[in-house]
């Protein structure tokens, strides 16, 4: 028996940020990420009848998005002909005299492990955000993630500054409690 219901009217409010964040870590281009997220929602809409309810809506949308990301790379590779990898740096006579350090991996560069941990952390933050009431999540994202000034948010959402700080306080308390178990 299916456990999950599908409701496309709420997709963008509930999942767009999560899908966007998932995409941005894989394509590193904001515009392309936005397009891929949009395409995912549209593809989801077209294949709604295939949703069996076995997985959550979000998991189902992510599986569509993964295919979209693969298609995107396929497309750009076919445009280029094929992906080229050239390693000419070390044997080039012109590079003689270059600092040896330049050939060594940058210790401050992100390792695969860092990337994975960041991704897990982002997932955890999104999960916690999805548990907040919509208004709280919206204010929290604008203030904390997008970094808008208090005044801008108040004008945009038509709330007072004290109202904003009450919402922020509740959101931060809930977010800290949610993340505390695994991340603090």
């Amino acid at each position: 028996m299916p456990n999950h219901q599908i409701n496309p009217n709420k997709w963008i409010d509930l999942y767009s940020d999560y899908l966007y964040n998932f995409t941005i870590s894989r394509v590193s281009d904001r515009i392309i990420a936005q397009d891929l997220v949009q395409d995912t929602f549209l593809a989801g809409l077209k294949s709604m009848k295939n949703f069996k309810g076995e997985a959550s809506e979000r998991t189902w949308l992510i599986s569509i998005l993964k295919r979209k990301i693969i298609d995107h790379y396929r497309k750009i590779n076919s445009i280029k002909g094929k992906a080229e990898v050239r390693i000419t740096y070390n044997d080039d006579a012109e590079s003689e005299g270059d600092w040896l350090e330049e050939r060594v991996a940058d210790p401050f560069d992100k390792t695969a492990e860092d990337t994975m941990e960041n991704e897990e952390l982002s997932d955890a933050i999104h999960n916690c955000l999805s548990k907040l009431p919509l208004r709280q999540a919206e204010v929290f994202k604008m203030k904390t993630i997008e970094g808008f000034e208090t005044e801008v948010i108040c004008n945009e959402l038509n709330i007072t500054a004290s109202n904003l700080w009450v919402i922020i306080h509740r959101a931060r308390t809930a977010m800290a409690a949610c993340l505390k178990e695994n991340w603090f």
Binding site: I24, Q38, L42, L121, I125, K143, W165, R172, A176, F184
Partner: protein, 79 residues
């Protein structure tokens, strides 16, 4: 300073919006209030985690546009 005020200042501090004197008063309050110390500790950790995660969100305008386009397709699909 009451605990409510202390928490409010602590929230503002996370966004670098608390004044110097507010921060001084908060720190004095924290010396004797364990509950606010805990709140401040968790609040600061939350800020750090969000910074480290480099999490991003779609901006409101982009989301609105996405919604408009999506609703149009949703309407068309109904007919």
């Amino acid at each position: 300073m009451s605990c409510d005020e202390a928490n409010h200042t602590c929230d503002k501090t996370q966004y670098k919006e608390a004044s110097f004197w507010e921060k001084v008063k908060l720190n004095i309050h924290l010396i004797y209030c364990r509950a606010c110390r805990d709140y401040t500790k968790n609040n600061t950790k939350l800020t750090k985690k969000i910074k480290v995660s480099k999490i991003e969100c779609l901006d409101k305008q982009c989301k609105e546009k996405m919604k408009r386009d999506f609703e149009k397709v949703l309407e068309d699909q109904k007919f």
